[in-house]
């Protein structure tokens, strides 16, 4: 059963079409991540579901009920924002209890205590319940902010880049925790991010957005291995997929319609110059800590690929290349399978 559905939703802000014909269904207990650059319409999508924006067309359905005309408070959703907004004068406990004490809900204090305790344990902040919200580290504050959403049990949690203001280590920890919590509680989450690692590691399905449209929706593996367009292919992978004109790789048996060839780093093999295959020159080797990128020049085109730590390469070296499993894209950027059929 779908927990949340958007049916052919459109939204304009003046001359800007923020969302165009967006249809999306999120199943009960599913973790869906919307991925895309700034301005793609990800946050607007969340706000439409939350009721913070009204669609110009289409409808929003939550647990089978059309809520398009309802106020945010009438919808069964919880929102976590990018910047944690805690009440600085309250303790962690009172911050967490706050949503349950709202006059609309009016839960009894014994229930609230149990629920807050439970969520605090889940987030590993049970030691901090009596602290002032301001006496916490950034990571703890963000956990409290997430906890404030979790004390409720809405149909869906809407999260707008909740981890983006944290350092890498904390982000990685909370990423795992959030996924664990979602699995344990079977909650439904729609999560917005720019970060492909967050999308790849947490999502059951990823929706890639661009200019107000949902370009592709699928499991992380589908999106990475079978992107429907050059745009989707370029959203995932570090370093990014290399897109080169098809004529550059005349030796590859590309389909006739192919205009662009996509080469992922793991599909470029580098051999010494005495090997057969297209020639390239090492332009430079970039050390980025956990990854070293080799920048290659193939004719006038640059290719960036991950350096194999065992392979000693230096600027100026001539090398031979082999390309495995290239992806082919037609004139408009749609992927075509190797046998020439639109993928």
């Amino acid at each position: 059963m779908a927990d949340v559905s958007l049916v052919d939703v459109g939204k304009r802000f003046g001359a800007v079409e923020a969302i165009r014909n967006l249809s999306l269904s999120i199943a009960d207990g599913e973790f869906v991540v919307l991925l895309g650059p700034t301005g793609a319409g990800k946050t607007t999508t969340l706000r439409l579901i939350a009721g913070l924006e009204r669609p110009d067309q289409g409808s929003v359905v939550i647990r089978g009920r059309d809520v398009t005309g309802e106020l945010p408070a009438e919808r069964d959703v919880a929102f976590v924002f990018q910047q944690y907004s805690l009440y600085p004068h309250l303790t962690v406990y009172d911050n967490l209890a706050f949503p349950l004490r709202s006059p609309a809900r009016r839960m009894d204090e014994a229930f609230i205590r149990r629920r807050v305790q439970q969520v605090a344990e889940l987030l590993h902040i049970e030691q901090k319940l009596t602290n002032r919200a301001t006496a916490l580290s950034g990571g703890e504050m963000q956990r409290v902010a997430i906890g404030r959403a979790l004390v409720r049990e809405p149909a869906v949690y809407l999260m707008d880049e909740p981890l983006s203001s944290l350092d890498a280590k904390l982000r990685a920890e909370l990423r795992l925790e959030l996924k664990r919590i979602q699995r344990e509680l079977g909650t439904t989450i729609l999560y917005v991010t720019h970060d492909q690692i967050e999308a790849m590691t947490m999502a059951d399905r990823i929706g890639v957005m661009s200019e107000g449209r949902l370009i592709q929706l699928g499991t992380p593996r589908e999106i990475y291995e079978r992107p429907n367009s050059a745009y989707v292919a370029s959203r995932l992978g570090t370093p990014a997929i290399n897109l080169v004109p098809a004529e550059l790789l005349a030796s590859q048996s590309a389909p006739l319609e192919a205009r662009t060839v996509g080469l992922r780093t793991e599909h470029i093999r580098i051999f010494s110059a005495d090997h057969s295959g297209p020639r390239a020159r090492v332009h430079w080797v970039e050390h980025l800590g956990d990854q070293n990128h080799v920048h290659l020049k193939l004719d006038s085109h640059s290719l960036v690929t991950l350096a194999d730590p065992a392979q000693e390469l230096k600027a100026g070296d001539e090398v031979a290349l082999e390309f495995l499993q290239p992806l082919y894209f037609d004139q408009s950027g749609n992927r075509i399978a190797a046998d020439g059929v639109l993928a």
Binding site: E161, D167, Q196, M200, L236, G289
Partner: protein
């Protein structure tokens, strides 16, 4: 251009020691990044260099001159804060020229300096636009223009990109570094983002709890961390640590982890028996059936190009970065081969690394 030198600079706020004796030298023309988690003292350090805080002890030298007690206005330094406030009622030209106008520069000179700054930032076509209608990136460039227009000796930047989305942040990293090179500036940049640090810095100082834990090039910091804190703070995922109880001796090239033999770089120093941690980065771990070091796969995170596989061993959890095409079954037992020339041995009690051949063959601490 300027050389900035800190000598045992410390700062306390009441009973709280925010910075505990920071010493480092930022060379002429270099891009120096101070990296650390929130609360590590990096912003306080920067504010002391700027003259916005007075150190409790220690000295700050700018081009050899002691500026420790000089006010901010008497130091020829530009400070770029995280949240740029542009004057909304002024256009781009007036915003950039504002610092010069305040100092009563002649109008012709202001005009020339503003145009030069705008050219460097590639926003000269926007000079007569209002700032309200600009994109986030262009606003950021205008704010930078306001910092560089005075041509100060040094730039201090406190997470200037913190408020931007991640994609745009990467782009601005490249621009900032290119700008630094074009104007031949000395820059000190504060961040908690290791990717920013790695991408921009000539040298990085990693801070933790008011102390500078290590100073070095990005590659040094990554490959040869001096402390477990640095090893754990840098890298995504960070370094894994295998716990060992042993008495390492000078000259050792092998360490035993629960009966499994693991080769490592030759140790240049020994220690009394105690708890140690063998540190290995995920990309230096491979599966090898023949290896004595064995563990059980407890999870695999698919990242597209690669996957991060977590394995529990007798020494603790190890993360391996493997090609995503490699089939991995959760629950299976695997052998792990660690790249012997890339391992670090830490004293688990102090967190300090033991000096070894990893340091480049020479003997130094």
């Amino acid at each position: 251009m300027a050389e900035i030198k800190l000598e045992a600079v410390a700062k306390s706020f009441g009973a709280f020691a925010a910075v505990k004796g920071a010493s480092f030298t930022v060379d002429h023309g270099s891009f120096f990044v101070v990296l650390g988690p929130s609360g590590c003292g990096k912003t306080t350090t920067l504010r002391m260099i700027a003259g916005l805080e007075l150190p409790t002890s220690g000295r700050i030298l700018l081009d050899g001159d002691d500026v420790t007690s000089l006010p901010a206005s008497a130091r020829d330094i530009a400070f770029v804060f995280q949240l740029f406030a542009l004057y909304p009622h002024m256009n781009v030209r007036e915003n950039i020229g504002f610092p010069l106008k305040c100092q009563n520069f002649p109008r012709a000179e202001i005009r020339k300096s503003v145009e030069e700054a705008a050219r460097l930032l590639r926003i000269d076509h926007l000079l007569d636009r209002r700032v309200g209608g600009l994109s986030g990136g262009d606003r950021q460039r205008v704010a930078l223009g306001r910092a560089i227009v005075r041509r100060p000796k040094a730039f201090l930047m406190d997470e200037p990109l913190g408020a931007l989305d991640s994609e745009f942040r990467r782009l601005m990293c490249g621009e900032l570094r290119a700008l630094h090179d074009r104007i031949d500036a000395t820059s000190i940049y504060i961040t908690h983002d290791q990717l920013e640090a790695m991408a921009m810095a000539d040298r990085i100082a990693v801070m933790n709890q008011g102390r500078v834990e290590q100073i070095g090039s990005p590659q040094e910091i990554y490959d040869r961390p001096k402390t477990m804190f640095v090893a754990d703070f840098i890298g995504a995922p960070p370094m894994s640590f295998l716990k060992v109880h042993t008495a390492p001796r000078r000259g050792d090239r092998v360490i035993w982890i629960d009966g499994a033999r693991v080769e490592m770089p030759e140790l240049f120093e020994g220690r009394a028996e105690g708890k140690f941690a063998l540190g290995v980065r995920p990309e230096n771990v491979a599966f090898a059936d023949s290896s004595q070091l064995r563990g059980r796969v407890i999870g695999a995170e698919y990242l597209g190009t690669t996957q991060i596989v977590t394995v529990t061993t007798a020494g603790g959890q190890v993360k391996a970065r493997l090609p995503s095409g490699k089939p991995v079954q959760v629950g299976e037992t695997v052998g792990l081969r660690l790249r012997s020339d890339k391992l670090s041995l830490f004293d688990a009690a102090s967190g300090a690394v033991l000096s070894s051949a990893l340091d480049g063959g020479g003997r130094h601490g």
